[in-house]
């Protein structure tokens, strides 16, 4: 893949496979958790420690991301009896997960700590609503927001829609093609007992749901939920002593930006997103390309975000994203399923971390569907993707997560089965 002159790909490649995700954990996905983000975060991190087989004394680093809507890492660590050698709480939502995994690798590499737990804890429905409704919608409009919110241009859906519209204009993308993302993810979620929405929906259901802001129908938009999620990063040689087959990290790209990321889009084309830049770091550093990937986790804040990223990371030609997401490729049983947990559209909203957790489980060949468990405690997968059935992708070896903050900013990560 030719590299544009304005992309710096000078970062070292020798960290390939040196670090791994060794533990994953989450709370339930609910509306109305009835507990604080501190209690949620503690629950998710302890589940990730149990999953990895790590004790409090084995974890000495912690990272989190939030937007003034969560609990800082030292409180979670303190509650769990973890003494920290490193922590940082970062401002941000979508696209943070992959970026923080890169930071975790960096601080371990720097000798600052040995094992890092990363969590996102949020009451995205019952406290700070992620869709921007409720109290968030009525805050005074000040400063640079006068150029957006004063025009009724405020929520993520409202802000991103000119990008989505322009993609339809530039490439002839059809509403029914994009709606196929929701249909696919809902099919996946029907095989995920922990998903908030487990009911299958059709393309027709999406197009018949009420319009929020064109081109988004209600079912083009993700669910708002209360939950926490966590992953634990350690060196791969350490991971081999732990409970599961490690998910080895091949490469990460973190919060890669288009030029001028304000939402007024001077730097076009506006139907191109940050993945166009991130891919020039992701694929060379990972030593693989889109064709090598078995499962994708393309962020689905909206149906369109999944499509735009798959296109700009090179899973199809520019402009062919509508075809790619509607021809069966991204469905379980297809060539390269996307968001096999149901993602943000159906499983729950976590600002990206649940899609990383899902891909770790795919790489372990131990996705938590309803298949029966064998004597070793692992599920005996049927690979029958009927409603309520299996969602394990057969022989999954390489995954890609494509995190989205907004059209101008994204992160990504490639993992492979250890």
């Amino acid at each position: 893949m030719p590299l544009p002159a304005d992309t710096d790909v000078s970062s070292p490649k020798h960290l390939r496979d040196k670090y791994a995700i060794v533990g994953v954990g989450e709370t339930t996905y609910t509306r109305g958790s009835g507990m604080t983000t501190r209690a949620l975060g503690t629950w998710a991190v302890s589940n990730a420690m149990l999953d990895a087989g790590l004790k409090a004394a084995d974890v000495d680093g912690m990272l989190s991301y939030q937007s003034g809507d969560s609990t800082f890492a030292p409180f979670i660590a303190g509650d769990l009896g973890i003494r920290l050698n490193f922590y940082m709480d970062v401002f941000g939502g979508g696209s943070s997960t992959e970026a923080l995994i890169g930071i975790a690798m960096g601080v371990i590499e720097a000798g600052m700590c040995k094992t890092v737990a990363i969590f996102r804890a949020m009451n995205g429905f019952s406290q700070v609503r992620i869709g921007g409704t409720g109290a968030r919608s009525a805050v005074p409009v000040t400063s640079d927001m006068l150029h957006s919110r004063a025009y009724g241009w405020q929520s993520a859906g409202q802000m991103f829609s000119p990008t989505f519209m322009r993609h339809m204009y530039d490439y002839g993308t059809k509403p029914a093609q994009v709606a196929a993302v929701r249909a696919a993810h809902s099919n996946h979620a029907s095989n995920n007992p922990k998903a908030y929405y487990q009911k299958r929906v059709t393309v027709e259901d999406v197009l018949a749901s009420r319009v929020i802001c064109k081109p988004l129908h209600l079912l083009d938009c993700c669910v708002e939920t209360d939950n926490a999620t966590a992953v634990i990063i350690a060196r791969a040689d350490r991971a081999r002593d732990l409970k599961h087959t490690p998910a080895l990290i091949r490469g990460v790209a973190g919060r890669v930006c288009k030029p001028r990321i304000d939402m007024h889009y001077q730097a076009g084309p506006i139907s191109t997103v940050a993945g166009r830049y991130a891919r020039e770091i992701l694929w060379p550093n990972s030593g693989v390309g889109p064709e090598d990937v078995d499962v994708t986790g393309s962020y689905d804040a909206f149906t369109f975000t999944t499509m735009l990223q798959l296109e700009d990371y090179g899973f199809c030609k520019k402009g062919e994203g509508g075809r790619y997401v509607s021809d069966g490729t991204i469905n379980l049983g297809g060539r390269r399923p996307n968001n096999t947990s149901g993602g943000h559209l159906c499983e729950g909203y976590t600002h990206g971390m649940n899609m990383v957790i899902e891909n770790v489980r795919q790489l372990r060949h131990d996705v938590d569907d309803s298949c029966p468990k064998g004597p070793d405690g692992k599920r005996e997968h049927t690979y029958d993707y009927k409603e309520g059935g299996c969602r394990q992708v057969k022989g999954c070896e390489v995954t890609a997560n494509l995190g989205w903050a907004m059209p101008g900013t994204g992160s990504a990560m490639v993992m492979r089965r250890g």
Binding site: G131, G132, T133, S137, A138, P140, V141, T142, S143, D144, L146, H147, S148, R149, A150, Y151, G152, W153, Q154, S155, Q158, S161, P162, T163, M165, R166, M168, Y169, K174, P175, L207, R210, V211, I212, C213, K214, P215, P259, R260, D262, H264, Y265, Q266, A267, G268, P269, I270
Partner: protein, 164 residues
């Protein structure tokens, strides 16, 4: 909807001071002369922190848009569907690179600065020629808005989202 600007917001204060007089001014870089929007503290093309404010004609064509049917802000709930337009100004179109333009946000409005009614919304899409008006929203504060440029030659079929 409470709107306010802090005393330290020099760039935004200057921008809105011109808007309050129903004049549209943008920063022009003192070094490379390129205009920019919204107001910023330096030039994104040459990094110079020096700029001067110059008058700019508020005419252009719709680059993209959204049409909001489910408003979330209380001030907009009684006005759906309303349009948010991104308008390519004629000035500096395609500069400094092919896909760049001064893309000025605004609602589709009536000539007296009110949010457009549904029958007017249905006439507007990508390519529609528009011109700027100003809506007084608070003492000393006006917002640039867009109206259909009835004097301009309009495209036969401006592109609109296919599902009405």
């Amino acid at each position: 909807m409470p709107l306010s600007l802090d005393d330290l917001e020099v760039e935004n204060l200057t921008y809105f001071k011109h808007c309050a007089a129903h004049d549209f001014h943008l920063q022009a870089c003192a070094n490379c002369s390129l205009l920019r929007y919204p107001p910023t503290t330096a030039c994104p093309w040459c990094t110079s922190r020096e700029a001067k404010w110059v008058p700019v004609e508020g005419k252009g064509a719709v680059h993209s848009y959204t049409e909001v049917h489910h408003a979330i802000q209380p001030a907009f709930k009684g006005h759906t569907p309303y349009m948010v337009l991104l308008v390519d100004l004629d000035r500096q179109l395609g500069k400094p690179t092919e896909h760049e333009a001064l893309r000025i946000v605004g609602n589709l409005a009536t000539p007296d600065g009110k949010l457009a009614k549904p029958e007017m919304v249905k006439r507007v899409g990508i390519g529609t020629r528009v011109r700027m008006v100003f809506t007084d929203v608070a003492p000393g504060l006006a917002l640039p808005q867009w109206i259909i440029d009835e004097a301009a030659k309009q495209p036969d079929n401006p592109w609109r989202y296919p599902q009405e």
